[in-house]
Symmetry: C2
Subunit: 134 residues, 2 copies
């Protein structure tokens, strides 16, 4: 199985996901286009699974911030094919990078990607509540 | 239909969603429990739909940060029942508050909820890459 190694992570390089990068407008600052909304929804769908969140969290919590795929089935209590599927979804969404070393593949969270999502969800600060007749 | 008015928004008051509030550990700082992961995945699922993202975005982009339900079907090009379903999902996830004024219901984004999600996704800063044999 070929393995892509993302040595220089650029959140603008993820193909159709590029529009959620920090270079693009956040959700709450102006009305999203249909295309931007579809791209962003794909990313939230990737995060909308408990097993995938636990995998992300487990990998990020490791002492050196990465984990071998061989150690990822036990923490989430799922089969190897299921874990591999979830890792692929996270990798395709740009949330994990992977690197082959010898016989094993290591996964690492892409912090720039998480920061991009945080930027997309940034609010504009408090606004006065409208005073309209009840 | 009864309408709940959340006058004082507290992200810790959203029942089973309470664990993703700012008072709880973020995804990337320690391994998530199964229960926390399920709660958080529910929230990302609510965001994982283009129509819901466009509704959130459209409401937030209004001059006073709120929109009457009667004006929300046209911007997303969906039927009233479909829009109502999406608004209910967003409201149930704590992302929208609603208020009845006369004959109409007005929706407003809950910025504290978005900030809570941003907090959950906060990273721990850059780490040195592991130097292991290739």
């Amino acid at each position: 199985m070929p393995v892509d190694i993302a040595a220089d992570i650029d959140v603008c390089q993820y193909g159709r996901m590029s529009k959620i990068s920090p270079c693009c407008p956040p959700v709450l600052h102006a009305a999203l286009s249909k295309s931007d909304a579809e791209d962003l929804a794909s990313l939230f769908k990737a995060l909308g699974d408990p097993a995938r969140l636990r995998l992300l969290s487990f990998i990020a919590a490791q002492p050196d911030g990465e984990a071998c795929v061989c150690f990822l089935t036990e923490p989430v209590g799922l089969s190897q094919p299921t874990v591999s599927h979830h890792l692929k979804v996270l990798h395709d969404a740009g949330l994990l990078e992977r690197e082959k070393r010898g016989a094993w593949v290591y996964y690492r969270v892409v912090p720039q990607r998480l920061e991009a999502i945080r930027g997309v969800l940034a609010t504009r600060g408090p606004r006065p509540r409208a005073k309209k007749g009840a």
